[in-house]
């Protein structure tokens, strides 16, 4: 159990992190990685997309290069404040909601695509959240989740475990299949100096 898996601690952590997040963020999750991940999805202007854990809106911005509107959800109002500044508080193009990834406030079969980047590592029970993603996806809809790849180095691994959830390809495969996704595939991503720092997983809700 990492320290950030307690949601109250996660909120406090994000309150302070949000102040510097977009300055720090490009080193681990940059525009090139975002474009690469976006290319894995079937996106058209009318596609209905949910961005879970939208934070300051970095992925939301990329999604809006492909679709007209995005539904964005985050638990932290401090992270959302940064996103409001980018897109305006009132939709379209972005419809903001405060909510919990594990208990989504959306009806069954609502979205064509559910995206979540840089959020799964803070969910206490990732499979619960992934099952919720599957529930709100239309049959055949696509899920894409970007999370931190488990470090190869033993010491870094121990440090990682103490802070938050990291997982490898096998663990990701198990989680997505247990949540009921099909066609589950993984892609390792990262900047040139650390090319497999992130693991991106895509899958489909059953037809």
């Amino acid at each position: 159990m990492g320290v950030l898996e307690n949601k109250a601690r996660a909120r406090l952590f994000y309150k302070y992190l949000s102040k510097v997040y977009d300055q720090v963020n490009p080193f681990i999750w940059n525009e090139q990685m975002r474009s690469e991940a976006l290319s894995l999805l079937d996106l058209e202007a009318e596609t209905t997309v949910l961005d879970v854990g939208c934070g300051t809106g970095f992925a939301t911005e990329g999604l809006l290069e492909h679709v007209d509107e995005v539904h964005a959800l985050d638990q932290s109002e401090h992270q959302l404040e940064q996103a409001y500044e980018k897109f305006g508080k009132r939709g379209p193009p972005v419809h903001f909601h405060r909510g919990d990834a594990e208990r989504l406030p959306f009806g069954t079969d609502t979205f064509d695509v559910v995206w979540s980047s840089g959020s799964i590592e803070y969910w206490p029970n990732p499979i619960l959240a992934l099952r919720e993603f599957r529930r709100v996806l239309k049959p055949g809809g696509q899920v894409l989740v970007v999370g931190p790849n488990y470090p190869d180095n033993v010491l870094a691994g121990k440090l990682a475990d103490s802070i938050m959830l990291f997982y490898d390809e096998y663990e990701a495969d198990r989680m997505f299949k247990e949540a009921g996704f099909e066609d589950v595939k993984h892609l390792f991503q990262g900047p040139s100096y650390d090319p497999d720092v992130a693991i991106t997983t895509i899958g489909r809700a059953p037809e």
């Binding site: 539904h71 638990q75 419809h95 405060r98 959306f106 009806g107």
Partner: protein
């Protein structure tokens, strides 16, 4: 939030429909809700709409931690 979003929103706890209560609309848009609450038709839990943003955090997560 636009009133049409009510069609896709539900109670995060039991997934039943939400009913709009005490709605106040934007002066320049009669479909844009700026204040009010969403109340679950099943369990009765109320979710506030704060400055146009629906706060659909479950009640155990709604309180901000004192900083």
């Amino acid at each position: 939030m636009n009133e049409s979003l009510l069609e896709i929103l539900c109670c995060p706890l039991d997934k039943h429909e939400l009913e709009l209560e005490d709605a106040e609309y934007a002066a320049d848009d009669d479909e844009e809700i700026v204040d009010g609450a969403l109340s679950c038709s099943e369990c009765g839990e109320r979710y506030p709409i704060e400055d146009g943003i629906p706060n659909l955090l479950p009640p155990d997560m709604r309180e901000e931690t004192p900083a």
